[in-house]
């Protein structure tokens, strides 16, 4: 099996695991019986794993959300849907590989799938611009959302981006307008929209696929107005305070649930989504199918009214 990239805070677990397998090897290869020691250590491992993975700090979740092996949109597409066909291009400028769009069956029902797409390796990441879209990506997404509305298919959005690409060409082609247009149009789409944050939900570039009827987040994903590094640089003029910013800004799934911004937290396999993609897909499946069943009951008018009500109540202010 391929070695998983280990995060700093996971090291005690990995060390203990190594020790256990060493002892097991000794027991197998020699006459010394270490079964008792192994049992003790395995119990210790369980406690340690519960302790570390059960109490992840915001910054540790940021690291999970950015993990190099974290599953991407297409990993879930392959596991959750059948007969997926990907479509390309915005018909205006080009095709942005940082967003994938297509249609497929979800439990015998046609659906439209839209998601940010990161690469698996450097080469693919360059092609997909590390999952940071240009305006044409958002416009491609919108084109397919409109198709979904025409053919009465629910829309499923996977959110996984550091943000919209901050580049010269992106500005020239109207990055602001492309994002704003999606917010506006998604508000009025007469089909159910389910959005699932699977990795990083970076600011406006994430939100541009994120106006929906149900918003879910994987347990270790993040959703934020600005990256922790960006916040630290702007607020305290020091990007190295990112960890502190992550704690202060409330960017984890638990924070967003508490603030009533998202509907459900989708659990992750122990140690993160990348440890068991199949299991992760099953967790998503159960929340997604429930969402679509619920939303299917509403008339078009109810759907839009509820969508408005949902966003209308987000925010905290007082009247003096």
């Amino acid at each position: 099996m391929k070695m998983k990239q280990v995060l700093d805070f996971e090291k005690p677990i990995v060390n203990l695991k190594e020790k256990i397998s060493e002892l097991k090897k000794i027991t197998e290869d020699s006459d010394i019986d270490l079964t008792e020691e192994i049992t003790t250590l395995e119990e210790k491992l369980k406690v340690l794993e519960d302790d570390i993975y059960g109490n992840l700090k915001p910054w540790q979740r940021v690291q999970m959300a950015r993990h190099g092996e974290r599953p991407t949109t297409l990993d879930y597409v392959e596991r959750l849907f059948t007969e997926f066909i990907e479509f390309h291009g915005d018909r205006l400028f080009g095709d942005d590989a940082a967003i994938v769009t297509g249609i497929a069956f979800y439990k015998d029902e046609p659906v439209t799938i839209i998601g940010h797409q990161r690469g698996k390796d450097t080469k693919e990441n360059i092609r997909r611009n590390f999952g940071m879209p240009h305006p044409e990506g958002y416009r491609k997404a919108l084109r397919h959302m409109k198709q979904a509305e025409k053919f009465k298919r629910p829309i499923i959005c996977f959110i996984d981006t550091k943000g919209a690409y901050p580049g010269k060409a992106a500005e020239e082609r109207g990055q602001s307008e492309a994002i704003a247009r999606n917010l506006l149009e998604m508000a009025g789409l007469k089909v159910p929209i389910v959005c699932i944050v699977i990795g990083e939900g970076g600011s406006g570039g994430a939100l541009a696929l994120g106006v929906g009827d149900h918003i879910h987040m994987l347990e270790n994903s993040t959703y934020s107005v600005i990256s922790p590094e960006g916040a630290a640089a702007l607020l305290w003029k020091d990007a190295s305070l990112a960890q502190q910013a992550a704690e202060t800004m409330g960017i984890t799934s638990y924070d967003l649930k508490k603030m009533d911004v998202i509907d459900e937290i989708i659990p992750e396999p122990r140690g993160g989504a990348h440890r068991n993609v199949d299991e992760q897909a099953k967790f998503i499946d159960s929340v997604l199918s429930k969402s679509l069943r619920t939303l299917a009951q509403y008339s078009e008018e109810e759907l839009l009214e509820k969508r408005w009500e949902k966003y209308k109540k987000i925010g905290e202010y007082v009247t003096i």
């Binding site: 919209a164 690409y165 901050p166 580049g167 010269k168 992106a170 500005e171 020239e172 082609r173 109207g174 990055q175 602001s176 307008e177 994002i179 704003a180 247009r181 917010l183 506006l184 149009e185 508000a187 009025g188 600011s203 406006g204 939100l207 541009a208 994120g210 106006v211 959703y223 934020s224 107005v225 600005i226 960006g230 916040a231 702007l234 607020l235 202060t248 800004m249 409330g250 960017i251 924070d255 967003l256 603030m259 911004v261 969508r307 408005w308 966003y311 209308k312 987000i314 925010g315 905290e316 202010y317 007082v318 009247t319 003096i320």
Partner: protein, 284 residues
């Protein structure tokens, strides 16, 4: 010996510091940010803070803007009491808000309401960049969304003047979600036949340019206004190249097809009045 002393003196002649040169008496005079010419503040006010020498548009406060556009004594303010709280218990946030409230006399970075422009009634929102850089938190988003809803209910046009650095960081994702809230409000307003003009003034960036400011039926801007999604420094760091000086100005956006028109401040009232006249329903 004596010569040495004189020599030394010569070398240490005092040159007025750059800062000293630029200092003008606070309150009475103001230096143009475009051409450095010094004006009596009173003179500048008369020209709506536009430099008579180079045409630079200095910021207007929310109420100065209202005065410059609306018929005298016709503006009725809405939701003046809505103000921010500190949902994330962000350090120093409340103190900063208090300071800006004192400085501006506003409770938040946006003023909303309705009034008459050349006798025609319109709903209106104007952001004030001197209140937390015009940033959008929950209170700003709520006030704008309410103004749009009310414009829909009262069948009024909606005009919004943006001046904002983007979403307010101290309220985290709640600020981000105001982009969605205001955009959905506009969609509902638009579907009901509502007519919206967005005017982007210096600066309109980030989450504000990427939401309501860019989705008017018509998008205008003031000359020289900085308009864009990402900040210049971030872009330069990302693409590792120097950006042209006119990058992200109103004129740049016009050239790239992102704006309907750039309008001089002195022609703003007249242009808006004409726009309102052209969109009056049933020619009333």
């Amino acid at each position: 010996m004596l010569k040495d002393i004189f020599g030394k003196r010569k070398r240490y002649a005092t040159i007025p510091s750059e800062q000293g040169k630029n200092d003008v008496p606070e309150g009475l005079m103001q230096k143009c940010q475009g051409c450095n010419k010094i004006f009596y503040r009173k003179e500048l006010k008369k020209t709506l803070n536009v430099c008579s020498n180079c045409g630079y548009h200095h910021p207007l406060s929310a109420w100065e803007r209202i005065d410059s556009l609306f018929d005298a004594d016709t503006f009725e303010e809405w939701d003046a009491g809505i103000t921010s709280t500190n949902p994330l218990n962000f350090p120093d946030y409340m103190e900063k808000l208090e300071k800006d409230k004192e400085k501006t006399g506003l409770n938040e970075g946006v003023v909303t309401g309705k009034g008459l422009i050349d006798g025609m009634e319109t709903a209106f929102a104007v952001m004030d960049s001197s209140f937390r850089m015009g940033s959008m938190g929950s209170a700003v988003g709520e006030k704008i969304a309410r103004a749009i809803e009310r414009a829909k209910d009262e069948s009024l046009p909606f005009i919004i003047f943006s001046a904002s650095g983007g979403a307010r960081m101290q309220e985290g994702v709640l600020s981000l979600m105001q982009m969605a809230k205001t955009s959905i409000a506009i969609k509902r307003f638009s579907d009901a036949g509502g007519f919206m003009i967005s005017v982007m003034t210096h600066p309109t960036t980030g989450g504000v340019s990427a939401s309501f400011a860019s989705i008017g039926d018509y998008n205008f801007a003031e000359p020289g206004a900085l308009i864009g999604f990402a900040g210049r420094r971030i872009i330069e760091q990302t693409i590792r190249e120097k950006l042209p000086t006119d990058f992200q100005t109103a004129e740049f956006q016009l050239k790239h097809g992102q704006l309907d028109k750039v309008i001089h401040r002195h022609e703003m009232r007249e242009t808006l009045a004409t726009m309102l006249k052209l969109h009056q329903k049933g020619g009333k």
